[in-house]
Every structure is written in structure tokens, then in C-alpha cells.
């Protein structure tokens, strides 16, 4: 059974000038222990997807359609109190900026112990032991002394390690990591990604990793979903999507990324910009920028369909050859 299943999720923001549909019919699943990457440019809906899953959509945003199932059980319609019991215990979260995800007024130890005791039936002594073990596991030296330190006494990379320890504290089955390395320097990024991958494997936790860095995706994930204008453009095994992208948008995106191992005179560029939510074109949202556009793309909106080893929302892969004819 899938650990997490998202079915036809729709997130909308009602506003004065009408309702904006920020996520439109998103469906995907994460298997136990799997690492699913989500990539896309700013505004594509990556972070909204994670916010919807962990129940932290900011008002007036709301889930207006579809379902989110965690271990077969619906979590999209729970109230705040019920959701609080799931968050931390069954779904852990890691955010971009480690300084804002830690409370500056409490010691790291107190935050860890409190989280452990909230979610697990252990006494204070056991919770403390667990907290120290978690810090050691995430590569913090002199963990026992570090328990007494405040977040500002840690460097950026160390803080993100503490945040990973916190996310693991409730022994969740799923960790949602939203740009966990974006705020860090390159040499630290590699450490954190390696750590995240190894501790999640050890604890058997699946990860939904949101990032805009394709290199991180390539090295970390099993599968990847490419998002564009609130929809999934393509989802499939990571090396398939990177090396043989099926959707023209993923193809353009992969070619636009400067590669450190290759010399290229010019980068491929996708002309134009992602549409605003209030001006999403009819048919396929990518059609005005797509080099392979044909009539059907301007009329009908494609859903995910099998394409090579992946699934792509593109009429090029329609089962009937020559959908335009």
C-alpha cells in the first residue's frame, strides 16, 4: 500500500476578483521508504503541495477538491487538533530556513525533549536519552553539551541538522522537506543531503523532497515530479526524467541548467515566463512557450498519460497517433 496518496488535489485561493486555482488536479503517491523529488520554478505550486499535505495551508487558501490519504486514511478533512497529532508524529517537516524553524528562546535540548514527549509515550529521562541519540545521529559533536545550547549558538549547517533531528523525533513515516538546503553553502549542502538520505533510510522514513536544484534531485531521489503552473507536467524515475524527459517543459528545463561537467556555448532557454494564476492559458498551460505545440494543445488540457517509463501530461504521448489529425 502507498504510504501517501494524493488524489486529484485542488487548492484554491478565493479573492475579490475571483478564485485562483493554485493547485489543479494533482495526483501522486509515495511508497514507504521512497524519496520523491518535486521540482519546478517559483510559483509552480511545489510548496503549496507540501503545505496542503502537512495541513499548513495559509488562509484564505483551502483544499477545494480531491483527497490526501496517509496509510489509506484521509487526512485532508481533519480539524486542527487532529492534524496536530499527525504532524510531527506521522509526518515530519523540514523547512528552508533552519533559524526560523527553531524557537530562539529555548535550548535545542528542550525543543527536542518536548517534541519527543508530545509524540511518544516516554518519560523525561528516556526522552533526553533519545534526544542526545538523535543529535549524535545527525552528526552533532559533543551532543550532550550541545543540548544546553540555543539555536543562535549553532552555525547554519548545524542548525539544519538539529531541524532534521527534530523532524525525526516523533519517528514519522514520512518527512516533507521543503528546500532544506537552499539557504546553505554548497559545501554544507552536500553534507545535509547525504545526512538526510542516510537517516531517513535508517529510520525507514519516506521523503518528499522539494527543491529547485536538479543536481540534488539527481543524487537523492528515486522518482521526481516536475510541476508547472499548478499541475504535474511529468512524473517518473529520476534518471528517466533527467536523461530522457518526456514533457517539452522538462526537456527545456533540463537543457536550461548549466552543467558543471559539460562546456556549452549557449544555454537552452525557454522563452517567456510561467503564466500568472489568473491568466493560465486554455488547453495545456505550457502551450504558448512550447516548441512542439499543435492544435490539440490549445484546446484540450492533457492529463498524465504513460510516456516512455514516466508519465507526462502532454498530447505528444496521446495513445492515438497524431491527436491533431
Amino acid at each position: 500500500m502507498n504510504l501517501l496518496q494524493v488524489k486529484n488535489l485542488v487548492v484554491e485561493f478565493p479573492g475579490r476578483r475571483g478564485t485562483l486555482r493554485a493547485l489543479d488536479d494533482i495526483s501522486f503517491a509515495i511508497a514507504p521508504g521512497e524519496i520523491l523529488g518535486i521540482v519546478g520554478e517559483s510559483g509552480a505550486g511545489k510548496s503549496l503541495t507540501s503545505a496542503a499535505i502537512i495541513g499548513l495551508l495559509e488562509s484564505p487558501g483551502r483544499i477545494s477538491g480531491g483527497q490526501i490519504l496517509l496509510e489509506g486514511e484521509r487526512i485532508d478533512n481533519l480539524d486542527d487538533a487532529q492534524m496536530r497529532r499527525i504532524r510531527g508524529r506521522r509526518i515530519g517537516a523540514i523547512f528552508q530556513d533552519p533559524l526560523t524553524s527553531l524557537n530562539p528562546l529555548y535550548t535545542v535540548g528542550r525543543q527536542l525533549v518536548e517534541t519527543i514527549q508530545t509524540h511518544l509515550p516516554v518519560n523525561a529521562q528516556e526522552a533526553r536519552q533519545r534526544a542526545i541519540a538523535l543529535l549524535q545521529e545527525t552528526g552533532i559533536a559533543a551532543a550532550e553539551q550541545r543540548m544546553e545550547h540555543y539555536p543562535h549558538q549553532f552555525s547554519g549547517g548545524m542548525r539544519q541538522r538539529v531541524v532534521i533531528a527534530l523532524a525525526l523525533a516523533g519517528e514519522p513515516k514520512l518527512i516533507v522537506a521543503d528546500e532544506p538546503t537552499t539557504a546553505l553553502d554548497v559545501s554544507i549542502q552536500a553534507q545535509i543531503i547525504t545526512l538526510l538520505k542516510s537517516v531517513c533510510k535508517k529510520h525507514g522514513a519516506a521523503v518528499m523532497l522539494i527543491t529547485h536544484d536538479m543536481g540534488v534531485i539527481a543524487e537523492t531521489c528515486d522518482r521526481v515530479a516536475v510541476m508547472y503552473a499548478g499541475r504535474i507536467a511529468e512524473i517518473g524515475p529520476v534518471h528517466e526524467v533527467i536523461n530522457r524527459p518526456s514533457h517539452p517543459y522538462s526537456e527545456g528545463l533540463m537543457a536550461a541548467i548549466p552543467d558543471i561537467t559539460v562546456d556549452r556555448e549557449r544555454l537552452n532557454q525557454i522563452d517567456g515566463a510561467m503564466p500568472r494564476l489568473d491568466a493560465i492559458p486554455k488547453g495545456c498551460a505550457f502551450n504558448p512557450r512550447c516548441p512542439k505545440v499543435f492544435d490539440r494543445c490549445r484546446q484540450e488540457r492533457p492529463d498524465l498519460m504513460p510516456a516512455q517509463a514516466s508519465q507526462a501530461a502532454c498530447w505528444l504521448h496521446a495513445p492515438q497517433v497524431g491527436g491533431a489529425a
Partner: protein, 337 residues
């Protein structure tokens, strides 16, 4: 006239540039609490040359001093030590004189954040037109109008966009407006401080391509600052790697990426996740960038360096000039690596 056998003369050349910031506590605290003076050596003895029409990229992690170098070059900071010359003229000395203004016209800068570097209450025409008016290049408004239109077109925007305000543009379009503004005075040298870091990859590709096209058509010289080595590989001719205020390695792009010499350069190259090496685990580098207020003794990189020995901990390495590369490392000098 220089002899033909000599290397082409550098357009921009920095010699032993240094900038120290006084970050001491206030005088009263120093007297009452006995706190010492604190000096932050943001840039410490950096030397490089850039030939006309070429791009030098400076890379390094946050706090290594790359943005300070950029600000020194455009005259936003006074150097504490060392000189920076532009076509043989000492820039900081010239800026004090009446000729300073024409020098400023020839050196322009593009900033990192296109949301912060454009005045939100000005139209695009005002923004791009200001340096033209300031330098007295264009006086009547019809000519200004035409010139701003041309500049917008040269960066791939429409002349009609000049009546709009910055908030009406996306990040990539704003960065193009910044480029158009910088190009207005027909500079020869552009200092670009992380010009694409705030942009998405597909937009980054658009901006990098425009910068390359402009370099070719106008013969611009760039100093390109970035923390992204993949971007640097794409734009640069020469690459300088900075660590805690010092230039640890400076080499031709191809030499640097093919055979990095300094252990820090190797570490940086190794730390970058590669797109086409799926599933391959790297050995992550240990340690973090030290506090620049109390840099390690000797070679600043020695606590993280796998090749460090006693000499590295005590003696600061001097930059060696090898045929294709200049590098500051005892291990390279001694032939240990």
C-alpha cells in the same frame, strides 16, 4: 608600445587589494568592559588581471569576500591596502579628481536582487534614464526616450515597457532592466554580483544568454561573482576561487575544471550535486566555513583540509605563479598533491 611577445595588456588589474572593516564594540564598551578592538579582514591581498572582452568569475561560499571585491572595484568601498587600476589608471585615486566621473561612466555594476535594486516608485524610463542624465550624455527628452527604448530592446524587452513600474515585471525581466540601466552609459567593464542567483533556472538561462550576447556585440569585460560553479563554467574565461578573503586559486576555466589544484577548489567541485551522475554517492566535505572574525592560523583552510600538516597550521601560504594557474597552498608547492 609593448613588445608583441608580451601578454596582452590587462584592462582591469587588481594588486594586493585588501579591505578591513572595523567591527569593534563602541568605545565606551571597550573602556568599561575591556573588550578588544575587532577587525574583520573581508578581503586580504587579492590580485588579478582581466583582459579586455574577457570574463573573470570569482566563486566562493558566503562570507568569503567576493561581494566586497565587487564593491571595491566599482568604488563603493575604499581599499584599505592595494590598488585597482583600469587601463593603467589608478581607479580610487582618479575617482577623487574631476576625471572621476568619466571613469564611473565606464565601470558599471549589476546587483544580485532585482527586487531591491530598482526604485519601485520610478518608471522604467526614469530608472534607465537616470545614469544617462546624471552623466550628461543625453539632454533633451525625445532623445532620452529613444535611447531608453533602444536599451530595452537590446535586452529583449519592448520599448513600450518604459512607462511601466518595476512591480509589473517578473524577476528575470527586472534583471534585464538592471542590465539595460548598466549599459546606458556604454561602460567597458561590468561588475556583476550574483546577477542570476535570485532567478529561476529557465529565466537564469535567458539572462546569461543575453549577457553573453552583449559581451560579444559590445566587447564588454565582466567580473562575474557567483557561488554557482556550473554557472561560472558557462560564463567565465578565468575563474578565481576565494576562501576567507583570499584568492586561493586563479586559473583558466578549462584548467580549473579539468585539474583543480587547491584542495578547497577540489572540495567545492566535489561538493556540487551532478545532474548526470544519478545515485552516485559523494564523499561530503567535513567542517564549515570558519568565522571570518577569528580565522584559523596559517592557511585559513587547514582545519578542513585533508592534506594539512604542521606547516599549514602555522605559516600562511604565498601565492605561487605556475604557468597556467596561480595557487596558494603549501601542499601544492611541496608537491604533496
Amino acid at each position: 608600445m609593448s613588445a608583441p611577445s608580451e601578454k596582452p595588456k590587462a584592462m582591469v588589474s587588481a594588486r594586493d587589494l585588501a579591505k578591513t572593516f572595523d567591527v569593534s564594540p563602541p568605545w565606551l564598551n571597550r573602556v568599561l568592559e575591556g573588550k578588544p578592538r575587532l577587525m574583520l579582514h573581508a578581503v586580504d591581498g587579492v590580485s588579478f588581471d582581466i583582459e579586455k572582452g574577457k570574463t573573470l568569475a570569482l566563486v566562493g561560499e558566503s562570507g568569503c569576500g567576493k561581494s566586497t571585491v565587487a564593491r571595491l572595484l566599482v568604488g563603493l568601498y575604499e581599499p584599505t591596502r592595494g590598488t585597482f587600476s583600469f587601463e593603467g589608471q589608478d581607479v580610487h585615486a582618479t575617482l577623487e579628481t574631476p576625471q572621476g566621473k568619466s571613469l564611473r561612466r565606464r565601470i558599471q555594476m549589476i546587483f544580485q536582487d532585482p527586487y531591491a535594486s530598482l526604485n519601485p516608485r520610478w518608471t522604467v524610463e526614469d530608472i534607465i534614464g537616470e545614469p544617462l542624465k546624471e552623466h550628461g550624455l543625453i539632454k533633451d527628452s525625445a532623445a532620452l526616450h529613444a535611447r531608453v527604448g533602444d536599451l530595452l530592446q537590446s535586452v529583449g524587452l519592448s520599448a513600450k515597457d518604459m512607462v511601466k513600474y518595476p512591480h509589473q515585471f517578473s524577476g528575470g525581466q527586472r534583471q534585464r532592466i538592471s542590465i539595460a540601466r548598466a549599459l546606458g552609459t556604454e561602460p567597458e567593464f561590468l561588475v556583476c554580483d550574483e546577477p542570476t542567483s535570485a532567478l529561476d533556472v529557465s529565466v537564469q538561462a535567458q539572462v546569461l544568454n543575453i549577457m553573453k550576447d552583449l559581451q560579444q556585440s559590445r566587447g564588454l569585460t565582466y567580473l562575474f561573482i557567483s557561488h554557482n560553479l556550473a554557472v561560472v563554467r558557462h560564463v567565465a574565461d578565468q575563474v578565481g576561487v576565494m576562501y576567507l578573503g583570499r584568492l586561493v586559486e586563479l586559473a583558466d576555466k578549462h584548467a580549473l575544471f579539468a585539474t583543480p589544484r587547491h584542495p578547497y577548489t577540489r572540495m567545492l567541485l566535489d561538493a556540487i550535486p551532478k545532474m548526470h551522475a544519478t545515485g552516485q554517492a559523494r564523499t561530503p566535505v567535513s567542517g564549515e566555513v570558519p568565522n571570518p572574525l577569528s580565522p584559523p592560523s596559517g592557511c585559513a583552510f587547514h582545519p578542513r583540509c585533508p592534506h594539512a600538516n604542521a606547516r599549514c597550521a602555522s605559516e600562511r601560504p604565498i601565492t605561487m605563479h605556475l604557468p597556467t594557474v596561480q595557487v596558494a597552498c603549501h601542499a601544492v608547492e611541496e608537491g604533496r598533491i
